[in-house]
């Protein structure tokens, strides 16, 4: 069971990150705080940075620097067009997939 949850988290985290970026560009620490609000999505804060690095290499996100009133400039992540398409495709998959799983689990045999 432990393994499954870990795998789910691994597979889904990047789409959650992309979805948060679809709302607006964000910087790393901001993403950590947003994800931290939802239980169980981000186990270790540090792992988001390799993930963002990979998304950037894949072309799903791009980075830019913005001045910050609180200190040094911040690196902002934004979703690219290919990133948006990928997120949309996943979204559709997820909706039908999770609906199916929920339906089967909810058939009364599971409390």
């Amino acid at each position: 069971m432990e393994v499954t949850v870990t795998q789910m988290r691994k597979g889904l985290l990047e789409y959650c990150v992309m979805a948060l970026l679809a709302e607006q560009p964000r910087y790393g620490y901001e993403l950590v705080q947003e994800l931290g609000r939802s239980d169980g999505l981000l186990i270790s804060d540090g792992t988001i940075y390799p993930l963002l690095s990979r998304l950037r290499r894949d072309g799903a996100v791009e980075t830019s620097w913005r001045e910050s009133s609180q200190g040094p400039p911040r690196k902002y992540y934004a979703l690219t067009e290919p990133g948006r398409r990928r997120l949309a495709a996943f979204s559709a998959e997820w909706r039908s997939f999770s609906a199916a799983v929920s339906e089967i689990l909810g058939r009364g045999a599971v409390r």
Binding site: G28, S44, G46, L51, S53
Partner: protein
């Protein structure tokens, strides 16, 4: 020790552990992640008071090993095997029986292309060996004393017919080249052996 210095030490320690854990990652990626984590720590530190909160923040950041693992996911298999039988044979044979050694050298994955070229070009049989070898042989023949014996009226006398001795610098060059000719295969073999260990 002031608490601020202590805090800086704790952070520096974490970052150096992270850098070590990321040693297996490509340099650009390693630098990127280190910079991101550094910035994260700076942001997070703004609201913290005291060492305990700092340590908690670093706990939430996660063990460097865990972060590094995420950074290395999906990488192809690491560096090829270091020293198998193929490599040992190539190492032994290249100076001794050059053609076999060189074939093994090139088919092995234990050395990169540059090292393979070095192993191929250096004597005894490599191209540089040929360059050295012909002049050496020529010099040898040119400066060998001819000789024999003749028999005149029952008296046998030997004679020798030596060309004038070579000028000093030619002699020196000859000896130096001969030395190199024998030394370089050994050096080449040692070099390849060291490069094998490095990988």
């Amino acid at each position: 020790m002031s608490s601020q210095v202590r805090s800086q030490e704790i952070v520096a320690d974490y970052l150096s552990r992270l850098e070590r854990a990321l040693a297996g990652a490509p340099r650009a990626r390693r630098e990127e992640i280190l910079a991101d984590v550094r910035a994260h720590i700076e942001e997070a530190s703004a609201g913290l008071t005291g060492e305990a909160e700092l340590l908690s923040m670093l706990d939430r950041l996660g063990e460097p090993a865990g972060v590094a693992e995420a950074a290395l996911e999906g990488e192809p298999a690491p560096v090829p095997r270091r020293a198998g039988l193929l490599e040992v044979l190539a190492l032994v044979l290249t100076p001794v029986f050059w053609p076999a050694g060189v074939i093994l050298l090139w088919t092995s994955s234990g050395w990169n292309v540059r090292d393979k070229l070095i192993g191929t070009l250096l004597p005894p049989g490599g191209y540089i060996g040929v360059l050295f070898g012909f002049p050496l042989i020529f010099l040898r023949i040119a400066y060998t004393c001819g000789g024999g014996s003749t028999t005149i009226n029952g008296v046998t006398t030997g004679f020798s017919n030596c060309p004038p001795p070579p000028p000093g610098w030619v002699s020196g060059l000859y000896y130096a080249s001969t030395l190199l000719w024998f030394l370089l295969p050994v050096l080449s073999g040692v070099y390849l052996g060291l490069r094998l260990r490095r990988r």
